[in-house]
């Protein structure tokens, strides 16, 4: 365990040092990412105003709060992608990672976790500017802050597991972009990234309860800006733990089979 902690700290340090090298590029990247939620925000705020100040139970201020927190959650959702898996298998980079006495996914989790810590700091001034422009309604309790702080990391782990599972398809075939695109389409609708889940038809909301996507996006945002009870908040964290545990078990199972397929095509 001590070795893993040491590894995580060292990897995170490497990630932070690497990101500092490109801090300006990182900032522009984050600014670029704001475009998507700002479009959603403008559309929904306009609809809310046209409907007498509210749409689907959200006021313009509530939409602003949702989409400003969205920007941080979106950044926490950025993990090593299936396209990255495709690249590292094709280029032979995975061979070097497999020679280490530590699972490559630990490397991914640790490295991106280091990047997230940089992102959180970069996000704060961006959130302040968005708040000044869009005037969000924030009514936040301490319990919500605590659960949100845990939930964004839970979301990060769930998405890492999901995209790693998806990426591992490349052990069998190295050109699977179409499957990835299908997945990302489903995720967009069922996670709360496009619109808050409560604005979706009931059957979509019901379906999303049985899938992992909303626990990576909608839940962390709602934990902070919604009106959830303490029981709902901790049940949500429980659901995240459930997805992380079952996902990890499934990942291990697939990994054992995938590694036998590895042909080190790229070197």
């Amino acid at each position: 365990m001590r070795r893993y902690i040491d590894f995580y700290l060292a990897s995170m340090k490497i990630a932070i040092l690497s990101q500092i090298q490109y801090s300006v590029a990182n900032y522009f990247y984050m600014i670029g990412m704001v475009t998507e939620p700002v479009i959603y925000l403008v559309v929904w705020t306009t609809i809310a105003k046209q409907q007498g100040g509210m749409a689907g139970g959200y006021t313009a201020g509530a939409f602003a709060a949702y989409y400003i927190i969205w920007t941080l959650v979106r950044n926490m959702n950025i993990v090593f992608t299936p396209y990255g898996w495709e690249w590292r298998i094709r280029e032979g980079q995975l061979s070097m990672e497999l020679m280490r006495p530590i699972h490559p996914i630990h490397g991914d989790v640790a490295y991106f976790a280091g990047w997230k810590t940089v992102v959180i700091f970069l996000w704060l001034p961006l959130a302040a500017i968005l708040s000044w422009i869009f005037k969000p309604d924030f009514d936040i309790r301490w319990m919500e802050v605590i659960v949100f702080s845990l939930a964004i990391w839970g979301a990060y782990l769930i998405r890492t597991i999901l995209l790693s599972l998806l990426g591992m398809i490349t052990f069998w075939t190295t050109r699977v972009s179409a499957i990835f695109d299908l997945y990302f389409g489903l995720e967009l609708i069922l996670s709360g990234r496009l619109v808050p889940m409560t604005l979706m038809p009931t059957w979509v909301q019901n379906l999303s309860n049985y899938l992992p996507f909303k626990w990576t996006f909608f839940f962390p945002i709602e934990a902070l800006v919604g009106n959830m009870t303490d029981t709902q908040l901790w049940s949500g964290v429980g659901m995240q733990v459930l997805w992380i545990t079952s996902g990890t078990l499934f990942l291990n199972l697939i990994w054992k089979s995938a590694i036998k397929q590895y042909s080190a095509v790229g070197g």
Binding site: A10, L17, S95, E97
Partner: protein, 327 residues
């Protein structure tokens, strides 16, 4: 003595899709896909004793890298048994991975954007190396490879040779007992190749590590390996001492003759390989070397005469050619 590496009847076959060129063949292949089995490694056996440095030779596609990948646990063999340090590599146990290293000349594991000194720290954490031991090994390696002025520069700002030296340091910080080196000097200039060879030699002698090396540069093999294994089309052609390979497969010697009169025709003495001004290189059957030398000295006025074994590259070449002819 228990061998460090033992390989018995190892085969690694790949099933690869195959089709003819053109649109028609492409459409047909959608419904009727044809596969061909490629025998990358085909029934090879060998064992390597602790501390041995063995050259693994063969042309491109011979199966050298595939064998190294099986030995390092990256690939699962189709059949056969492999044992390294008492471990079955395919199980990829962490204890096993902590005792071996695979260095590939065209692969990087150090962070591109950071100075190597930071990446070395990550290697320490990955392998759980105690800090005092890590610092000592790191500083020793830095001295040996003369990297003191470079370790604080980002990797991206280093030359290819400097980067390779850093990669080698990073790969060996955990002091592996077995090194799999796949073309470690590829693309490097002669000086850099020599430095890396000297370092590998020093590492082998100091730590008693077992080394299996593939290289297309025969200078690497001559400098480091007493024993070589030659493979071609996945099969072993030769396994023994390098000197035996030369004796067995080279039936010629090379004579260098310098004459005051460069116009003299020497074709009656042997096959003229090159002619560079007054210097002529002749290929002569090994059994006739003494006779030809004596004749040259008695028949002509000779300024200088040298007798050399056939260059190792040519010997290896003749092994492959002979194998192709037998097939």
């Amino acid at each position: 003595m228990t061998p460090t590496i033992s390989v018995s009847k190892l085969s690694k076959h790949y099933k690869v899709p195959e089709r003819e060129g053109g649109m028609k063949a492409a459409v047909i292949s959608l419904f009727n896909r044809k596969y061909r089995t490629v025998k990358a490694v085909d029934d090879i056996s060998f064992s390597i004793e602790p501390g041995e440095v063995v050259g693994f030779l063969g042309p491109n596609g011979a199966g050298k890298t595939t064998t190294l990948k099986v030995l390092s646990g990256l690939l699962h063999p189709t059949s056969g048994a492999v044992n390294v340090l008492g471990y079955e590599p395919t199980k990829r146990s962490h204890d096993y991975l902590r005792q071996v290293a695979l260095v590939m000349g065209n692969r990087n594991q150090l962070s591109w954007d950071l100075p190597a000194i930071d990446s070395f720290e990550l290697q320490r954490a990955i392998y759980g190396i105690p800090v005092p031991e890590f610092k000592k090994t790191r500083d020793d390696f830095i001295d040996l490879l003369e990297l003191k002025d470079l370790v604080n520069k980002p990797i991206r700002n280093l030359s290819l040779g400097e980067r390779m030296k850093m990669e080698i340091v990073g790969a060996l910080l955990h002091r592996p007992k077995v090194l799999f080196l796949d073309e470690p000097t590829i693309g490097l200039d002669v000086t850099m190749q020599r430095r890396i060879r000297a370092f590998i030699k020093e590492y082998n002698q100091r730590w008693g590590a077992t080394v299996l090396l593939t290289s297309h540069y025969m200078a690497d093999v001559e400098a480091l390996c007493k024993r070589v294994i030659v493979i071609h089309h996945g099969r072993t052609l030769f396994d023994g001492e390098l000197s035996t390979l030369v004796t067995q497969f080279s039936s010629f010697k090379t004579l260098g003759v310098t004459l005051p009169n460069p116009e003299v025709d020497l074709s009656q003495y042997g096959e003229v390989l090159t002619r560079d001004g007054a210097r002529v290189t002749l290929r002569v059957a090994k059994s006739k070397t003494s006779q030809v030398t004596a004749n040259l000295l008695s028949d002509l006025q000779v300024d200088d005469l040298t007798v050399e074994d056939t260059p190792i590259d040519d010997v290896i070449d003749s092994v492959f050619t002979l194998n192709e002819e037998i097939k």
